[in-house]
């Protein structure tokens, strides 16, 4: 009976738990957490090869939130997907989906200190 006395709180817990359980599932429909952390790692390490681990630039332009502030998402998307002909920036289309590129743009805008 005691259990039933606590029932409203228990149900609340169940509700919260289910939300918590369902949240990753709905996120997975877009990108899994695992994939997100792979993308964050990729951005740091592999984009970092040309743009610098601190994203201050190198062979490639700087990729800090400030330096991309004036560039809209559409342009960034186009640059990542199609590259910049005549420069070493390649088209990443063969390696990433559109959703993944949008997520990379989100990470770039958040900056280096955001850990994904």
């Amino acid at each position: 009976m005691k259990i039933f006395c606590l029932s409203s709180r228990t149900w609340l817990c169940v509700a919260i738990l289910s939300l918590a359980l369902f949240a990753p599932v709905s996120a997975k429909a877009e990108l899994s957490d695992e994939r997100k952390s792979e993308l964050a790692y990729f951005l740091e390490q592999d984009c970092g090869s040309c743009h610098g681990l601190t994203r201050q630039g190198g062979l490639g332009s700087p990729l800090t939130p400030e330096t991309v502030a004036e560039t809209d998402d559409e342009t960034l998307f186009d640059v990542i997907m199609n590259g910049i002909p005549g420069t070493p920036m390649p088209s990443w289309k063969p390696l990433f989906s559109q959703d993944e590129v949008h997520y990379l743009i989100k990470l770039i805008r958040k900056g280096k200190d955001y850990d994904g």
Partner: protein, 393 residues
């Protein structure tokens, strides 16, 4: 006056002395360093025992970092991406000098006489030269002409005989040389129109030929340093003619010059091939189809095999090419992010950094078996001290 020691006192002395030798004195010929690119640290390593001896921290942004050694093989000069030039004593494992010399740098070289260290910069461009003992600035050579506001990125900086440094200008498409043979004010020689977007350069092991790899065109540029009056000529022009270039997810590096017999092996840009060149005529003599876009093509010290690593998405693989048959004889899968390889001086072993596994692997070059490994945080470049005595490294 004669002093007599009892035997046990002598034994004690001997023990103490041997203890001191063991702890205090050692050569550095089997030492080296591994760059830990993310944490701005390096590991000091011993390749006789295949281990890390300790970590040095505080070297800044080490993405794309590289190192050269003083001729006594005691000091390493590490070139960081953030413009940091750090001098490290590998015996005491301490930083003994550090300057932030530019905004964004890409590599460096030490002069033939060991007295100068040059650093190549992306931002603000140009090359700065430092005293190797004190790290005091000796020369600052912007890569621009009078009236120009923006300097060119400089790439492929190497040392050359005659106390020279040679490098490419990425934006201007030129090769410059700084001659320090007459003192500390360099004589600058500029070679114009040497090819579009030189992305890296190398000098042949005897120090005679400087070669620029070109991103902006199919081909490479060759400068004969014995006959500089003849200028720069293009070699392997149009090696990709009629073919659609594949995306390049990491720029090749030419530092690992692979030479065997009369042949040289160079990574193609935008092709999954190694280009094989005759070193006398500089004509293409063949191509080796390989697993992906090559990054490093490095000759085993005995010249028998060429080891190649790859750009994304093939960076989990190493291929070994037999110089006699020009065929891939072995494909290894050490793990994701194999960024660099380094041979022990006589080539019995090869070390490789496996970035994503946080590991350095050690392979036997005769059996291709992995002999051991140790942990390293996001390892990239591996540099053994025998580089101290090699032109261009």
């Amino acid at each position: 006056m004669m002093v007599k020691f009892r035997p046990y006192v002598l034994t004690l002395f001997a023990l103490l002395l041997s203890g001191c030798v063991h702890e205090g004195l050692r050569g550095t010929g089997d030492m080296g360093l591994v760059i830990e690119r993310t944490d701005g640290s390096i590991l000091i390593v011993d390749h006789s025992v295949g281990k890390s001896l300790g970590r040095i921290e505080g070297l800044g942004d080490l993405s794309h970092a590289s190192a050269v050694y003083s001729r006594d093989e005691r000091y390493a000069y590490i070139f960081g991406r953030d413009g940091g030039l750090t001098k490290v004593d590998i015996l005491t494992r301490k930083i003994v000098g550090r300057v932030i010399q530019g905004g964004n740098s890409i590599g460096g070289a030490i002069s033939q006489d060991g007295s100068l260290v040059a650093v190549s910069n992306y931002k603000p461009g140009g090359v700065k030269v430092f005293d190797s003992k004190t790290l005091d600035l000796v020369a600052d050579v912007p890569a621009k002409e009078a009236g120009e506001t923006k300097g060119s990125k400089t790439v492929g900086l190497v040392d050359a005989p005659g106390n020279k440094f040679v490098y490419g200008l990425y934006d201007a498409g030129e090769i410059w040389s700084l001659d320090f043979s007459k003192g500390r004010t360099p004589k600058i020689t500029k070679y114009r129109d040497t090819g579009t977007q030189p992305y890296d350069g190398l000098i042949t092991p005897e120090g005679r030929y400087y070669i620029s790899g070109l991103f902006g065109e199919d081909g490479l540029s060759l400068l004969d340093l014995w006959h500089t009056d003849k200028g720069v000529k293009r070699i392997l022009g149009g090696y990709g003619k009629g073919e659609k270039a594949l995306p390049v997810y990491k720029m090749p590096h030419l530092e690992g010059w692979a030479v065997a017999d009369d042949l040289a092996f160079l990574p193609a840009i935008g092709r999954h091939e190694l280009l094989v060149v005759n070193r006398r005529t500089w004509e293409e003599v063949g191509r080796v189809p390989i697993h992906g876009q090559p990054v490093f093509a490095m000759g085993q010290p005995d010249g028998r095999y060429i080891w190649v690593n790859f750009a994304l998405p093939h960076n989990d693989t190493i291929q070994v090419i037999d110089v006699e048959t020009l065929k891939v004889i072995k494909t290894l899968k050490p793990g994701k992010g194999v960024l660099h390889m380094e041979f022990t001086p006589r080539g019995d072993k090869v070390w490789m950094s496996v970035r994503d596994a946080n590991r350095v692997d050690i392979y036997d070059t005769s059996t291709f078996e992995r002999l051991g490994h140790f942990e390293a945080k996001r390892p990239s470049g591996i540099f053994f001290t025998n580089r101290a005595h090699k032109i261009g490294l």
